[in-house]
């Protein structure tokens, strides 16, 4: 049957779509694939953004070199708070890997923005889990980032190989990889939780600013947190931020071993579960509070 303005095609009157029980794996794979395709659209901006992340590396190498020079610790075995110059540079390089997993650029802001402008409605009316969708999208972003960054990372680590004392043992390497995966999960669920606060506050930029400030110092991004003395060190080691940068790097460098390593991984797992639950709880409460802004 044809109608005016409708192209003259027919519609199957019994056109109720046959619904399969969707295979969760295929569904999430399709979401991942689509997210990767979307990520690859703005290739210029993406490539530049990825490469520019390596600039701070150079400044840090000079920065720590200057500190050791100023302290007169010129010998290869001289230490500052238990770290040699080489170990500090190696540590800093490794935190770049940690942060490549745990940092979530624009995640919280984009969630809050979608709440504010109403874009989030599509996730509420479709049979898809918003948090799962965001997680898979973020995995896609990370995969594309690693694809582009693996070359520059390899080059930088090759050029800086003199700062390392060699490859860690296999079980340390395994623990390092495990801690990286968990640092990704903590970073994701923590920042997604901040985004969900947008259900109440609408704008979370200032909250994020405070978080980023704390993160910068207490995740070990700037310096190894075991340098912090006394009660400062105790506090920082008790909060989860250390798992975003310090912990994986310290594991790779062999600063945490044996029982301490096992406990460290268990604590990290605890924080993963904690933030998964907190994020889900905040989302569920937030949706109840949601007013469907933005028309």
């Amino acid at each position: 049957m044809a109608t005016a303005g409708t192209g003259g095609a027919a519609l199957d009157p019994g056109g109720g779509a046959a619904h399969l029980q969707p295979s969760a794996l295929v569904t999430w794979w399709t979401i991942l694939r689509t997210s990767i395709e979307e990520r690859l659209v703005y290739r210029g901006d993406f490539a530049l953004g990825t490469l520019m992340r390596f600039l701070p590396l150079v400044t840090q190498v000079f920065f720590w070199g200057a500190i050791f020079d100023a302290l007169g610790a010129v010998s290869a075995t001289s230490t500052v708070a238990g770290y040699t110059n080489n170990e500090i540079i190696a540590y800093y390089l490794l935190t770049q890997i940690s942060r490549a997993f745990s940092s979530m650029p624009n995640l919280s802001n984009s969630i809050a923005l979608q709440i504010r402008n109403g874009e989030i409605k599509k996730f509420l009316v479709q049979p898809v889990d918003l948090i799962g969708f965001l997680l898979v999208s973020r995995v896609a972003h990370k995969l594309v980032y690693y694809l582009v960054a693996v070359g520059p990372f390899a080059l930088v680590f090759f050029l800086c190989r003199g700062f390392f004392s060699g490859w860690p043992e296999p079980h340390i390497m395994l623990a390092f990889l495990l801690s990286l995966v968990m640092s990704f999960l903590i970073g994701f669920f923590l920042e997604a939780t901040f985004g969900m606060i947008g259900f109440w506050w609408l704008e979370v930029s200032s909250l994020l600013f405070v978080y980023m400030l704390l993160n910068f110092f207490f995740s070990g991004h700037m310096f190894p947190i075991d340098m912090l003395p006394g009660w400062w060190g105790t506090i920082v080691r008790a909060v989860p931020l250390q798992y975003l940068a310090y912990f994986p790097a310290a594991v790779f460098l062999g600063k945490i071993q044996g029982t301490a390593l096992a406990w460290g991984l268990l604590y990290q797992l605890f924080w993963v579960v904690f933030f998964v639950v907190l994020c889900r709880w905040t989302f569920n409460r937030g949706v109840q509070h949601y007013s469907g802004y933005g028309g």
């Binding site: 049957m1 109608t3 005016a4 303005g5 409708t6 192209g7 003259g8 095609a9 027919a10 519609l11 199957d12 009157p13 056109g15 109720g16 779509a17 046959a18 619904h19 399969l20 029980q21 969707p22 295929v26 569904t27 399709t30 979401i31 689509t34 395709e37 979307e38 659209v41 703005y42 109403g118 874009e119 409605k121 599509k122 509420l124 009316v125 479709q126 049979p127 898809v128 949706v287 109840q288 949601y290 007013s291 469907g292 933005g294 028309g295």
Partner: protein, 335 residues
């Protein structure tokens, strides 16, 4: 049989009342005044399967809020609603697979990717069997004549083209209930007509239940037999489109054509003279006075032609909206 059942549905918001100026902004950091706004005030409504119902009302009347409640986007402050037996705000997947919401002002497709990628994603999310998906997508794409645009990023489509893609995405899983929130807003006349034709055709064939909000009377007239007027969060009218005029318009329009070029004087005593272009004159006359006015005019004057019509629907609805707004303002102003 009712597919949508609403009883006493209510939704109120707490809205921040910001005073003008910088000082007030600073003050607002420490102390804020809120106002309780009742967007929907105890609506009762039943919609049978296969009905195409229009929600009309002035801006802020509660139309879109009602659709948001029925699609589970927000939770109510009171009352109950069931759509196909489901409580919408529980957001069960079994429910979400059986309805669709299309918002004229909100994009649900992936902005930077071609629409066909979003369609494929919908296939997975809604669990549509592949052969069925291909057939249905092709049908909808051909009906809306957008096949050449499938590979084009959504951001590069015109508003009308984008809305067609939105409709396809929303209909791929053959929803039994379709909520349309101003689907033709901002579209040119051609695109509006195209979407209207499609929706009419689709609804006739698929017998889907549709709730539509629109400010375009042409949408409503073309598509809906039943109209619900919401104003100030309450239902003011529920019936046919033509019944609106009978209920809300207290007058009719008498058009008289006199011989020659002149229009006789004294006609204003029968009603308002809306238009006077000799030899033709249009009078707005109270419904109860039509017979008497015509009898007197025809007895006193020679008339070449006469017609009695209802006022234009848009005009009546505008009057209804205006009345509703005045009532709402009166309620707010009341101490």
């Amino acid at each position: 049989m009712a597919i949508i059942e609403i009883e006493g549905l209510a939704k109120s918001y707490r809205v921040y009342q910001k005073q003008e100026g910088l000082l007030a902004s600073v003050r607002g950091l420490f102390h804020r005044t809120y106002r309780e706004v009742s967007a929907v005030r105890g609506i009762d409504l039943k919609v049978d399967a296969g009905e195409f119902v229009a929600f009309l009302g002035p801006n802020g009347a509660g139309k879109t809020t009602t659709l948001k409640l029925l699609s589970g986007v927000i939770s109510p402050s009171g009352g109950t609603a069931r759509v196909m037996g489901f409580v919408p705000w529980k957001r069960e997947n079994a429910y979400r697979r059986r309805f669709a919401l299309v918002m004229g002002q909100k994009n649900q497709l992936w902005w930077d990717l071609p629409a066909q990628e979003s369609f494929r994603l919908h296939q997975q999310i809604y669990g549509i069997e592949p052969a069925q998906f291909d057939r249905r997508r092709d049908e909808l794409v051909d009906l809306l004549q957008v096949r050449p645009l499938l590979g084009q990023p959504v951001r590069e489509l015109s508003l009308g083209e984008r809305m067609k893609m939105e409709l396809i995405a929303a209909l791929l899983h053959s929803p039994e209930v379709l909520f349309l929130d101003e689907p033709t807003i901002g579209l040119d006349v051609v695109a509006q007509h195209s979407i209207q034709s499609f929706l009419r055709h689709y609804q006739q064939i698929q017998k889907v239940t549709v709730l539509l909000t629109s400010h375009y009377m042409k949408d409503v007239a073309a598509l809906c037999r039943r109209v619900v007027i919401i104003a100030h969060g309450q239902i003011m009218y529920d019936g046919s489109l033509s019944g609106i005029v009978d209920k809300f318009s207290g007058h009719k329009i008498i058009t008289l054509v006199f011989p020659g070029d002149a229009v006789p004087g004294g006609l204003s005593r029968f009603g308002d003279v809306l238009e006077e272009q000799g030899p033709k004159v249009k009078l707005k006359v109270d419904r109860n006075g039509i017979a008497e006015a015509l009898a007197v005019i025809l007895a006193q004057h020679t008339v070449d032609d006469v017609s009695v019509e209802d006022p234009p629907l848009e005009e009546v609805i505008a009057e209804v909206f205006s009345l509703a707004n005045e009532q709402a303002e009166a309620v707010v102003a009341r101490p």
